[in-house]
Assembly symmetry: C2
Homo-oligomer: 269 residues x 2
């Protein structure tokens, strides 16, 4: 038969809806906290069945864009940007053997190095206050609190770089690495704690880029070699526990919001 018409393979309905809503979230039509229209509203707007709408919403939920609550005054609510999806996907990759702990720590080392350098270069007095606030004075702390302190410090340090891309990337790695540490629960000090962190803070405060970089490299190398010990024998059997662990990074993000400067408020390159 002669070809008179070109193929018009329709993308699936749910996919069109998924993309449309996703893009409007990214563009800011719906902001975090906003409620999406109810299922029945979307049904009338898109002129499809409820089933299709539900598949689209479910996909948006899986992709980490919305949260869905049942009941009156419930519905789909747009979420804050969260790294949990990324760190979750990374942990899946880890469990699947697609990435290794060495690779994780390697990337973290290079990111932290650059972050430390930029922090020393750009940290404002306000940044320094926030950073010093993460250094708790009390000497005795339980394991979970120490993890939380560590996560907080490195998160806030990344904020001092004044580049949100570093923060997003760092948070994903940070969350996963600290979940691993919780699983490993090393007897020895894998968390150098406030001593090293305080030294890094001081270097940042003095705007001593070289010293900050030097310190963070040592810090990262130590953590990496500690974790490496456990790589083979212990962790693989406990990978399935990864999902259950919590680092408290979420709560930290809520207190230290992503309050980045306006886009062009600082010098680059």
């Amino acid at each position: 038969m002669e070809k008179k018409f070109s193929s018009i393979k329709q993308p699936k309905s749910y996919e069109l809806i998924f993309n449309q809503i996703k893009e409007s979230i990214i563009k800011g039509v719906f902001k975090p906290g906003d409620k999406l229209p109810s299922e029945s509203d979307l049904v009338t707007q898109f002129q499809v069945s409820r089933h299709v709408v539900r598949e689209a919403l479910r996909s948006l939920q899986t992709a980490g864009f919305i949260e869905i609550k049942q009941g009156a005054y419930g519905g789909a609510v747009v979420l804050e940007m969260n790294f949990e999806l990324l760190s979750g996907a990374l942990s899946d990759m880890l469990r699947l053997g697609k990435i290794s702990i060495s690779q994780l720590t390697e990337v973290r080392k290079s990111l932290e190095t650059e972050v430390a350098r930029l922090a020393a270069k750009r940290a404002t007095t306000d940044d320094l206050n926030k950073l010093s606030a993460t250094l708790i004075e009390e000497p005795i702390m339980n394991f979970k609190d120490r993890i939380k302190e560590s996560v907080t410090f490195h998160h806030v340090l990344s904020l001092c770089s004044h580049n949100p891309i570093y923060t997003i990337m760092m948070d994903s790695l940070l969350d996963l690495i600290h979940k691993l540490i919780i699983i490993v629960k090393p007897e020895k000090e894998i968390l150098p704690g406030k001593v090293t962190h305080k030294m890094i803070y001081e270097a940042v405060r003095m705007k001593d880029e070289k010293k900050a970089v030097e310190l963070i490299i040592e810090h990262m190398s130590k953590t990496a070699s500690e974790l490496k010990k456990y790589e083979e024998k212990y962790i693989k059997e406990n990978f399935n526990k990864l999902d259950e662990q919590k680092t408290g990074l979420n709560e930290i993000l809520k207190s230290f919001r992503y309050n980045f400067d306006h886009v062009n408020n600082y010098k680059t390159i």
Copy 2:
């Protein structure tokens, strides 16, 4: 009131099914290429309605675990996990974070530097062949093809680092940057093309880490300063067009598969 009982919030049915299938995929019960039971089979196995099963499968598809084909002998097939979804998610996050061009190029510069260093250190002869294959000899090319060549080169270079996390991060940055370039459509040469790339390739081939780093820094600085010109006046109004642009990165990823060595097959730190 005293807390006598712990919360017994029932997970939704679709979620239980999602997790159960996901876990069995990760644990290897279903391997890449395997077909999952059909919808109706799953309905009888899980004793739930068809709709619930569909939502679970849709979520698994969104999360990148399976591919669903229509028709006889169709159904849900387990995918080989790759990093496309992860870099796509990162790309979305970055767009949500309202980042600037300067911030993009800044992070890219530091990542590319590390990538180039590692590539020079670790590239195998097979890597080198693939890398040289990206350097097209023909002198005349249209704009889109030049973009494509550039993206391909940097993507394959990141593969040479033998650390997929770098590739994930690089891909998401490359995606955004090249979308910007397409919007900007600079008259002047923003893409240095094969001259610079060939020099970098040579440095990698000679395992000259220092030279490779030196070259890539210059390369990045040049690209960054070219792009920066457009930051103020042009791009802001066109940022919303980002999602419409296509870099062809997807097709490139398909041809240059993520064939990383087994996880512990290389030296680190």
